[in-house]
Amino acid sequence: MAAAAAAWARLQQVSTAQLGSGGSGGALLAEAVDSATAQGLASLVPAQLLGAASAALQARLAQLRGMLAAIDEGLAASVGDEANEGDGGEEQGGLRAEVEASLVEVLRELCAAVESAAELLSQLCERILRAQPVLAPADRAVLLSAGHRFHRQAAAAVAGAQGGRDWAGLLYRYYWHKLRELSRAAEAQQEGGLDGMAADGELGGHGPAMPPGWARPLQDVAALMRRLGLEALSEEAYAAVVCRHLRERLVNHAARSFDQRMLDPALRYAASTPVTFLRLVLPEGRASEAALEHWGQRLSYYVYETVGSLRIGDMFDIVVDYPDSLPAIEDIRDCLQNTNLHRKFVAVFRKALQDRLLHPGAATSDIIQQYVSAIKALAHIDPAGAMLGAVGGPIRAYLRQRRDTIRCVVTMLTADEEDAAAASLHAELGNAEAAPQDCDSDFEGAEADAAALREAERWEPDPVDADPSRASSAAQAGDVISKLVGIYGSKELFISEYRSMLADRLLAKCDYDCDRELRTLELLKVRFGEGNLHNAEVMLKDLADSKRINTNVKSVPNTATPLRRRRGLVDIHGLSATILSQLFWPQLPTEEFNLPPEVSAMLSTYGAKYRSLKAPRKLQWKPNLGSVQLELTIGEQTLEFNVSPFHASVLMHFHTRPEWPAAELAERMGVPPDMLRRKVVFWINQGVLSESRAPGHALPVYRRNEQLQTGPAVGGEQQEGMELEEGGADQEHQEMAAYEPFVMGMLTNFDALPLDRVHNMLKMFVSDPPYDKSLDQLGAYMARLVAQEKLSLEGGQYRKRG
């Protein structure tokens, strides 16, 4: 027993001394191991040796701790702050050669210590095995794996002991430096017009020309980390560096212009500098190619995700720019096909729409326009239309709440070519290839929208071989209109609104020219079926018939046979008429009043001639409809007006008589005095007539002015849809008057506000009519309200007057 104890004590002493000194002088140790083995202690030896080697390594690490801290400091000093990376980093100094050299040196030393100790351990254990052929299997296993176990313990020891600093941080900073140097060299080379590769250069044909010896330390650090068994730590660091580099490059370099593809250059870039870098840090040899390929896929995926996220964040503006933004849309399409971002896409885009579009400050026509662009843009991204359902749902729900939606859609569909937005919608109408009689299926409610969202959650990209552009244009062309019409859930509503707008437009025409309306009608017929648009068809035919009849009526001479005996026939060359098939038109406003006798005579002459051509049919006049072009000479001025028949009739009465008591003129025209006044106000505002009130008289006297008056107008009354050839400023003020209640309301709620606040609040909250005035226009109008003593202005603050 004493001999055994002595041998064990000897082994303890020698192993600590020998392994601590770096593993030299193995002879003494071998001897001690032999004697311990001879005493039957073989199974205890490996644990003793392992413990001694670990203790020795810990001691070595403690010595190196100071150096590692200095290296990390040296790296950190030049890396700079993450936050101001973009520009701040540029100013920082580069990687100092001595810092890099000492990093390699420390790693090399650690590696040597670990490897030599492991080697010694393995040799000693083999020696025991040779000396003791008969051993329990468990003991054999311990002896065989001692070297390996030490490696593992050493890796853990090295990883866990860096004097409070993180290896990950140190490596990250080092790799970041090297990648930055590489990427700058690549950029410089590209700017210099040299082509990518320097075949015989430092990097052996992969990547830009680097200074001789540049790559070696980088390869060494990566290789040494591998040898230390810390490959995972190292890989984590360079992976993070490469991703950060890619991301920064995409964020900074993608100028985010929507009219250029971002994805393809990004993918190309990911395959250049980052791969060159990875080639250096990955192990060499055959495994390297496979690893590089794997990394290539990983980087591509990262690019798809990053570009996808960036583009998705801009989706609202991309839609605004459609179709110029098609390249950005194609980016999104490709990114969604290669990633899992569709749910994020739906969420982000919905939120952007909610925040930027679906609020009281947005004009209905803008919302519709954006909706139309979204439909078209999404058709490129997702031809199956699942995402449109999810994204469009809130827009449709919102539009359903706006009263003027149908009217806006119809206006846009039927508007003049000058309006670009409307023109695109009109063109869309012509795109209808599919005969969508079944567009009822598009009449969705809130429930359908919710279903669409669920559907989008399950979204899967189309197979790549399906040609998305083709599928989309065909499916979507029909869609845009149905989706718009479907907002309200009924095509009957839409058609009836269309009819009433068509009536307005046709009745405003004096030239019978309705080519555009005819084209629109033809397109609507394709879409909704002829039967549903029969009324509109008759209305348009009425216009064409009216034109012909008008010519025929006027060519009937007053001396024609059936008319000869009639008296009171007058010249009708200044008269034209639109003749309606009343049952096919919507209810039209009626306003009975007496026309001036000379006008009555013209109408009845016209009627008689019509009857001579069309008997037994006859005409029934609608005196309040139509329009009158008149020339007023007042003083030295001659003005042209285009006004309603009522307004014209009022004025004609002043042609022969300078003044009329209100009651008398009202009686002459067959209307109540207050209705008369509403019309007279227009002429007063034009400075053509004036009113005065004698004391004790309830009703005023209207008088024609000898000169055109430009003084303050009578407030309150708006002109009734008249087009003025004169008086633009007045008209502007009258337009602004629509906002007066809002301004007054705000100043009631807020006591005092500066001009720009009023302006912004109007923009935000007023949509009916949409507020589209400039700050200057508002200022001019507010000044007028101040002049009228409705408001006060003090120190830039407007207040309501008590």
């Binding site: 009845s604 005409l619 409809l625 008149l630």
Partner: protein, 94 residues
């Protein structure tokens, strides 16, 4: 001193009517001023005619009726149907 209103152009709006008293055609029950079931446009394309018995129908309607009957009688009063000459316009004022 001058105050002169000159009408350069007066564009008026009117509707036409067959002036056929009863609102609907007794055969097709559609308004006279509309069109019969197989007519596409009202007015010229869907004329209204009177019999000497003073009953009025769409031309298409009475023709179809007469063709379907052995005897040419007014579907209303069963009197012999005879087209009344259209009234010459301009005589009666509106």
């Amino acid at each position: 001193m001058t105050f002169d209103v000159k009408i350069k152009k007066w564009h008026a709006v009117a509707s036409w009517t067959w002036n056929a008293g009863d609102d609907v055609c007794g055969i097709c029950r559609m308004p006279f001023d509309g069109c019969p079931p197989d007519g596409k446009y009202p007015g010229d394309d869907s004329p209204v005619v009177w019999g000497v018995c003073t009953h009025a129908f769409h031309l298409q309607c009475i023709n179809r009726w007469l063709q379907s009957q052995a005897e040419q009688k007014c579907p209303f009063c069963r009197r012999q149907w005879e087209f009344k000459q259209a009234a010459v316009g301009g005589e009666d004022s509106d």
